[in-house]
């Protein structure tokens, strides 16, 4: 089979019907363009929404839950070992929220090759007061560097600098909602009352906004040392260890492992935020479905145009067969014809898809809840372009196959005799 000749003939046939061919290719182009744009846009939004939660959430959080001991003294006694022991009115013993032996646990975690990084944290409820107002809230004592590296804290700082927390003594990075309610600005001093009753003065060095009102209205950050001072605890006191893993999917298994190994409570991101995974995948499925539908519609267009073309080209097919092209050759000519439309439409579709995505990427999209987002989010992923192009080829091939087979089976005698 002489591929070059067959392709040359396909191109010749296409050029003879250039308008129809362009219409068919534009159909494919439109399908691919919308497919790519839709997926990039949808997944841009997905990533942004997931980022709201997932960027800031530890893959595994190690902490101490207040609960009763599972290992009661009576079970240890040999005398009652054979018995079934009923114990009434068990009360949890407050061991405190502190993680004991935190230094060696963090050392062990840092050695673990599956761990990307860890951030120690002190988490405690407090009251903010400025002037006559008292507001309940949460203060987080953080390791500023680790928090920035693992949880992108700076992305959410709307005024001031998070690094100042470690430079200025007794400083606080205040949630935007808290600051608004207390009517304070950078440089003002607010008072913080802990559960133990100690009152401390902290200087506001910045404002932070996560876009979730519930959090912005209560939370604030300070350095881990300041938090320890506030609570009157020693310098190895921490209440949480947040872990980021290299592979997110290992979180549930590792959480169990660490809980057992360090005798702590551990929660993994999948358990804590199951609903986000579901939302993302549903949105992806919808955009794939719409995109593929567009391509299939384009495929029907090609099918129609090729069918018409075959009726018009009966004479051409007959003469090609008479001069030595087999049915198979004729079939390939029409399949190539279809694929050329698919490739041309696909290439232009990808180009226009990229352009359209870039345009959407420039459209302003400002919302109070998302301080870091200035324009509509677009996720540029080569995979979408690859899938779009593959589907364009696949639909055009299938659309071309039936008419091509029909063309291949045309009996030249009937055409020539029919004149």
């Amino acid at each position: 089979m002489n591929l070059k000749l067959l392709i040359e003939i396909s191109i010749g046939l296409l050029r003879a019907r250039i308008k129809q061919s362009i219409v068919a290719a534009v159909g494919v182009m439109f399908g691919v363009c919308m497919f790519v744009t839709l997926l990039s846009f949808m997944n841009g939004l997905n990533q942004m929404l997931d980022g709201l939660i997932i960027n800031r959430t530890a893959h595994i959080r190690l902490y101490n839950e207040i609960k009763q001991s599972t290992d009661q003294p009576v079970n240890a006694s040999k005398a009652y070992k054979e018995n079934i022991n009923f114990i009434h009115s068990i009360k949890p013993k407050d061991k405190g929220k502190a993680i004991y032996n935190s230094e060696s646990i963090m050392h062990a975690l840092n050695q673990d090759s599956r761990v990307l990084g860890i951030a120690p944290k002190i988490n405690t409820p407090i009251f903010y007061s400025a002037g006559g107002i008292e507001l309940p809230g949460l203060i987080n004592g953080i390791d500023i560097e680790a928090e920035q590296k693992l949880f992108y804290l700076n992305d959410y700082v709307i005024e001031g600098k998070s690094a100042d927390l470690s430079i200025v003594n007794n400083s606080i990075l205040l949630g935007n909602g808290v600051a608004e309610k207390l009517m304070v600005e950078i440089g003002d001093v607010i008072y913080v009352t802990t559960a133990q009753g100690t009152i401390s003065a902290l200087k506001v060095i910045g404002l932070v906004q996560f876009g979730l009102m519930e959090i912005d209205n209560t939370q604030s950050y300070t350095s881990i040392q300041t938090a320890q001072k506030l609570m009157g605890e020693s310098n190895n006191y921490i209440t949480d260890i947040n872990i980021k893993l290299k592979d997110l999917s290992q979180a549930p298994a590792l959480a169990k492992d660490y809980a057992k190994r360090f005798e702590l409570d551990a929660i993994d991101i999948q358990t804590a935020n199951a609903q986000f995974e579901t939302g993302s995948s549903v949105r992806s499925i919808i955009s794939y479905a719409v995109g593929i539908t567009l391509l299939i519609v384009a495929g029907f267009g090609i099918y129609n145009i090729l069918n018409m073309m075959i009726y018009e080209k009966m004479d051409t097919i007959a003469i090609m067969k008479a001069t030595g092209f087999s049915g198979k050759d004729v079939k390939y000519i029409f399949i190539f014809l279809s694929l050329i439309i698919g490739i041309a439409g696909g290439v232009f579709g990808l180009a226009f898809g990229y352009m359209l995505s870039s345009i959407i990427d420039q459209i302003p999209f400002e919302t109070a809840s998302l301080p870091t987002i200035k324009t509509y989010p677009i996720y540029y992923n080569p995979t979408y372009y690859l899938i779009g192009f593959t589907f364009a080829l696949l639909t055009t091939y299938i659309a071309g196959l039936l008419p091509a087979r029909k063309a291949g089976s045309i009996d030249p005698v009937e055409i020539i005799r029919g004149k």
Partner: protein, 224 residues
């Protein structure tokens, strides 16, 4: 090399639609190398049907067909396409050029399909044939820019491109005026004389037939 270029033995053909009609009744004949043969007969006598069978495009018949000693009966579609490409040249009544391609390309396509020579050589050969037939000046035109007689000359050039064993014509002058018909006949005559080209032409034009080497006259599906 066989003594006969074309050897048809006991060819029978029926049409079953709407009632069974015998079109060809046990036809046998041969064509020798270098012969210019015409098949003559009235409309409906089966001469065109015979040509389609001889040209391998119609495979629904009984009997045996040999081309240069090679049995063609029973070969598959792809093999027959190869035979048509390499060994048989066609000239039809309605010229049947590919309107999508230039005159030169039309002549070249069967040659490119065969792939025996390089594209440059095929172009050279096509140009030479078109030159011989007086069509060299028109070779970059499209088929719809030519007159009927000119188209028919291009079709002859196309039939010649692969040096076929035999050229078959289905009323090649049927659609032409007297002057063009004579021109086409003279070309055929030159081909047999100068190139020893074997020709089998179906026609109902008595004048045309009389001037060929041999006439096979048909009536109601038999040779008389």
């Amino acid at each position: 090399m066989s003594e006969f270029i074309l050897d048809a033995r006991n060819i029978c053909k029926d049409f079953n639609d709407p009632v069974k009609i015998e079109i060809l009744k046990n036809l046998s004949f041969t064509v020798r190398h270098g012969e210019f043969v015409s098949v003559m007969g009235k409309s409906g006598c089966g001469k065109s049907t015979l040509l389609y069978i001889l040209s391998t495009m119609d495979t629904d018949y009984k009997g045996e067909l040999y081309l240069n000693g090679e049995l063609l009966t029973g070969k598959n579609d792809a093999q027959l396409a190869q035979v048509r490409n390499e060994k048989i040249g066609f000239v039809f009544q309605f010229h049947y050029l590919l309107n999508e391609f230039s005159i030169l390309k039309n002549v070249m396509i069967p040659g490119l399909k065969l792939g025996k020579y390089s594209a440059e050589e095929i172009e050279q050969r096509a140009t030479k044939h078109l030159d011989t037939l007086g069509m060299k000046d028109h070779m970059l035109k499209m088929p719809n820019q030519l007159s009927g007689g000119q188209k028919q000359r291009v079709a002859i050039a196309r039939a010649l491109i692969n040096d076929p064993l035999i050229i078959m014509g289905d009323e090649p002058t049927g659609n032409l005026d007297k002057q063009n018909s004579d021109l086409v006949f003279d070309i055929f005559k030159d081909l047999t004389k100068e190139l020893k080209q074997t020709l089998l032409i179906v026609t109902h034009d008595g004048d045309f037939a009389k001037r060929t080497d041999r006439i096979i006259e048909m009536k109601d599906g038999v040779i008389i």
